[in-house]
Amino acid sequence: MSIEFFLDGKAVTAEAGQTIMDVARANGINIPGLCGDKRISKTTSCFVCVVKDKKTGKFLPSCSAMPANGQEIEVTSAEVLEMRRTALNLLLSEHNGDCEAPCTLACPAHAAVEEYVRAAANGDFAKALQIIKERIPMPITVGRVCPRFCEKQCRRNVDGEPVAINEFKRLAADMCYDSYMEDLPVLSGKKAAIVGGGPAGLAAAYYLRLRGIAPVIFEQMDKSGGMTRYGIPEYRLPKNLLDKEIAHFEKMGVEFVYGKKLGGNLTLSELEQNFDAVIIAIGCWQASGMRCEGEELATPGINFLRNVIENNCSAPNPGKVLVVGGGNTAMDCLRTSVRLGSPEVTCIYRRSEAEMPAEKIEIAEAKEEGVNFQFLTAPVKLEKRNGKLILTCQKMTLGEPDASGRRKPVPEAGSDFEIEADTVIAAIGQKTCAPADIPVNRYGCVEVGNDGVTVRSGLYSAGDCVSGAATVVEALASGRRAAMAAARDLLGIPVEEENPINVSRGNWQELSADELVVLRDNLSAEPREKLSFIPLTERKTTFKEVCATMSAAQLAKEGKRCIECSCSDKADCKLREFAGQSGCRTDAYSGVRQAASYDVRHPEIIQDRGKCIKCGICVKICKEVVNKSLLSLQKRGFASCIGTAFDQGFPDSCRECGECINACPTGALDWRKKR
């Protein structure tokens, strides 16, 4: 006896025994649901599958409700979707876990850190490199120069130092880069022009090629690499390694055209005529001034660095050097000056050391190399007297925090004093210098749409010229996004979106050591592996790379320090999947979360109660399918949980059939070994 009813206005027929969800599925409408499993009796718990009976106005769990003749069921009305979203938001609000690991979330390129660390620690460096290159196509460079966003968020900071994540990239690249080759798809016939051969442009080219679009890079200089070549000193990134890195792009079929400058001997309109897509990745090459009288007498930081690099590290001794600024470029200028033989190198910075934007390690290494720092000092005037440069400075004190959150320096009246120097370098910052036909915003950066890369259909932009001066890894991420946007517009390839749902157990800054959730085996309690540096005298007199790549043996030990924070089920967690599809927010409801009462006593099975949605599928599977009844629902209400008898963990009678794990919609039950 069949039943006729309506799903979103469409007449459908149900066979005996079919639920509304069954009928919807048979008609091509997938109603999400977390708590159903055809092998067991109904659980009717999650209410994610709600639909609305239009006549009665009631919401029904479609996994359990049978249709009635003539019933009009709403499946996708705004009200139904809102109920569904709320159910998921409520579940997220009590979820105690980490979907992605904090390192991956912190990485601008969203690299699968935990995965490549694990692969490399296990000795599979080729696999590690492959995972890295999915997001970071310049691992040789990034493995050396990255400011390590990932390590700053590493949970091991709670009880010591972070895992030396970047060293894994560096070794994997050093070991396997030459032999590695991507699977290249057949070219589609579409072509893209990329203006700028820096990291953003290279990344765009890389990911375009991987999507079957032929990339051509137009570079104004006679070599590519952009700031990685002309801005980063040799002692941090040896240029022979950069050459090797870029040579791989050529091997992949990326075409390079040198000596072409947009707005000079290259116009946007000719590119747009000859290519299906154009990506602007011209970087930030215009140095900002010191904004004081005589600023033109100062050497711009990036020009200083570029000059040294272009002359193969053999520029003349700059004499006594003052570098104004506190960023990484300033550190590069300072340390380069030391290496050029300067007798006295001083950094002038208007705030205190704590506010300095340069990496702590850079500051420390600069100090080791003998650089002086003069904090709370700002330039007022630069002038030339008797062949010497005289920088007039004033002392500053820190006032209230400004928009950036840093305390704003306030000049001290009457504190002016003079410093004499041979070279004054202004490393204040850089600006984009875009040709007139590229739209820019009030900061001078290329104006893009909400996706961060699209200027208009067919024209994209990526890297520093969009964001302002930033890091290599950010430029790579941006280039990848531009490539994906172009591939979507040209070939209809969907953009790989990150799942926006990332429940987190919290930043390490808010956690104590005993709050760390460790689901893996034998976490190492050893301290972080040490880097080996070349002797200080060599550091101060040569441009040799400062520190060596860690050894495989070191990394095998270091890998055991990784907590492996991410959820073992992140790729097929239904809660995360549906929440991502439904526009959910992890912070929609605040309140107490489930306790992190995870159980790793069993050698094979993890029970992580904080991730449980109390659907009870596992209980019923064990009882009704496996016929064991080793699990039960315990307590009630918000405190309810799934437990084993007397909280003794899975008993010996569990034959590890894995049925409960397969049925669990989240990572509350999982195999212990991450696959």
Binding site: K623, S629, L630, S632, Q634, K635, R636, G643, A645, F646
Partner: protein, 150 residues
């Protein structure tokens, strides 16, 4: 089945009688121990995890040994309006106990109950089942003293 739980045999061992069996366990032993759960599971033919799930669902069942005098403070609506929270505060001040706890000397244990059905005498509490109504601080202290002296 352990000898000390033989009394369960006074009830038919139909699995549906589990709750009755647990009530008998509690009235006999004062609370439900791990061994008690094992005995009930064996006698009524129910998995241990399952029995524990039932025990933990119902507010009546206690998993820890209560004190000699079980104080049950009613937090029904009438009692709440008439000052049950204050009674808890006073008891906490006097005995240092929070609901669900037993004093170290084993004399008193404290719990909150939903309603004793004596709303007209609110606020009320019961000690070992005996209901004391129209409580204020003075009468409550007097009652505590009487029991403590017994």
């Amino acid at each position: 089945m352990k000898k000390e739980y033989e009394f369960l045999r006074s009830i038919p061992n139909d699995p549906g009688n589990l709750i009755k069996g647990l009530q008998l366990l509690q009235s006999s032993c004062g609370y439900i121990s791990v061994d008690g759960i094992r005995a009930a599971a064996e006698y009524f033919g129910r998995p241990e995890a399952d029995v524990e799930g039932v025990v933990s669902f119902y507010a009546q069942f206690k998993r820890v040994k209560p004190g000699r005098y079980q104080i049950s403070v009613c937090d029904g609506t009438a009692c709440h309006l008439k000052g049950a929270p204050l009674i808890h505060e006073w008891l906490h001040q006097e005995l240092g106990l929070k609901p669900g706890e037993t004093a170290e000397d084993g004399v008193f244990s404290l719990e909150t109950v939903a309603c004793l059905g004596c709303c007209s005498l609110a606020p009320v509490m019961s000690v070992n089942g005996k209901v004391h109504g129209k409580l204020d601080r003075k009468t409550m202290m007097k009652i505590l003293k009487e029991y403590a002296a017994k």
